[in-house]
């Protein structure tokens, strides 16, 4: 049965590819002219002084670290959701103590200013 599901996914991918083809193909037929390359990016009417692609603010790295800790936890929580009713109280206690430990980490990171923007 799961094969059926993923088979459906492949079919949907093919369909969306068809829709995209129709959109891009249709636009190709009705467009007013060829694609313009090398347009200047919008900068309030100024020319760019340098390329925009650059290393961004450091805040994103700390935010991502905190996120990753929790995200790894989710890998456990999805399968845990299937068996918690069976395993009972012990499973609940273990999972939520684990989550409380992670939450303490978030509170620490917050106190250290990891969620502060400027």
């Amino acid at each position: 049965m799961s094969m059926g599901g993923f088979g459906g996914a492949l079919l949907v991918v093919a369909l969306v590819a068809g829709v995209l083809g129709a959109l891009y193909g249709g636009a190709l037929l009705v467009r007013l002219g060829r694609t313009v390359t090398g347009t200047r990016p919008f900068l309030s009417g100024h020319d760019p002084a340098e390329h925009a692609v650059s290393r961004f603010h450091v805040r994103w790295y700390t935010l991502t670290m905190i996120f990753l800790a929790f995200d790894m936890e989710m890998v456990f929580m999805y399968p845990w959701a299937l068996v918690v009713a069976e395993l009972g109280t012990k499973a609940v206690i273990e999972m939520f103590v684990f989550l409380a430990v992670l939450m303490a980490g978030v509170v620490y990171a917050w106190r250290e200013g990891a969620l502060r923007w400027t």
Binding site: L32, G33, V36, T37, G38, R40, L43, H51, R55, H57
Partner: protein, 326 residues
């Protein structure tokens, strides 16, 4: 009639409004017509198909307008609106141009490569002493919901402004003869900008409609009060604006005191009680231009935009002073 021509005629109009000093009345007329005709204003040249120049641009401003025009692709048209009464006919002519497949094919063929070759970003230390890339990002003169004639040259690290320098452009074109916008309409205009930059789409649109109606003397009391009440009561808006662009200097004009939220609440209050004392003063504009770098440095980009919208420096009033002094 071919399919392209048909779609072209049916397509919506997306104006990018570039206001130059002295163009306030023209912008008000353009924004009113755009609203009445159901046009959604564009945020950037890529989204726009109509460049509207509100006011008579000084030669100093033309290069900025040209660069914006060059980064728009066909279908495109430019409407020069020197004054309020000229708006309807200028927009009609531009729409006719937008609907003309032959002229639009010409525009498409004439679009050019900019031929620029910028350098990679350079590095400098941030607040924690980490060396990260910096970008030079000028704000204005052509930017939605931005005061006419103002350019703030910022150096950004990520989305935080490391330094800001103010430049005024195209002021020589302002004519002292222009009648000032009535106080209530000017206040609503500023409120609309703040709400728009803060992303309160509905409230910003409502403020613009009220502003247009105040100018024709037909603003219905009930809707005005309902809008003002929403501005005063919205908790999320309070949360979003509190503490931004706070002015607490002793030498600051009293009209600017407090943060963006306080200024917005005061303006809404004045509008709902129909106060008609003028909200803007030349000395306020002068003070703001000098204080802006200090108010913006170290701020996040969105916060800086809200601060500028909420202070709304009437840069063009400075031109009169200079003329009067000299």
């Amino acid at each position: 009639m071919d399919l392209t021509a048909r779609l072209l005629r049916w397509a919506d109009i997306r104006p990018l409004v570039a206001e130059v000093p002295g163009g306030t009345w023209a912008r008000l007329a353009v924004e009113r017509l755009a609203r009445e005709r159901g046009w959604r204003v564009a945020a950037c040249p890529a989204e726009a198909n109509l460049l509207v120049v509100a006011g008579t641009p000084h030669a100093e401003v033309e290069p900025y307008l040209l660069r914006v025009w060059q980064s728009m692709t066909a279908p495109r048209a430019r409407a020069d609106v020197p004054s309020g009464p000229a708006a309807a006919s200028a927009l009609d002519a531009a729409v006719a141009e937008l609907h003309d497949p032959a002229r639009q094919r010409d525009h498409a063929a004439s679009a050019v490569h900019s031929g620029l070759d910028p350098e990679m970003a350079d590095r400098d230390a941030d607040r924690d002493g980490l060396a990260l890339d910096q970008l030079t990002v000028p704000l204005g003169p052509v930017l939605p919901d931005w005061p006419a004639g103002l350019v703030v040259h910022t150096v950004l690290q990520g989305d935080v402004i490391q330094s800001a320098r103010v430049q005024l452009t195209g002021l020589a074109a302002t004519r002292a003869a222009d009648e000032p916008v009535p106080a209530a309409a000017a206040r609503l205009d500023t409120c609309a900008r703040v709400l728009s930059v803060a992303g309160a789409h509905d409230a910003a649109l409502a403020a613009r409609r009220l502003r247009d109606e105040v100018l024709t003397g037909q603003a219905p009391e009930r809707r005005l009060q309902r809008w003002a009440a929403w501005v005063r009561r919205s908790r999320l808006l309070r949360w979003s604006l509190a503490g931004i662009g706070r002015v607490d200097d002793a030498d600051a004009p009293p009209a600017l005191a407090g943060d963006a939220l306080a200024r917005l609440h005061r303006a809404a209050e004045a509008v709902s009680h129909r106060h008609d004392d003028p909200p803007r003063h030349t000395d306020a504009a002068q003070w703001m231009v000098e204080a802006l770098p200090r108010l913006l440095e170290g701020r996040e980009l969105a916060v800086a935009r809200i601060a500028v919208a909420s202070l709304d420096p009437a840069v063009e009033t400075l031109a009169h002073t200079e003329v009067a002094d000299g």
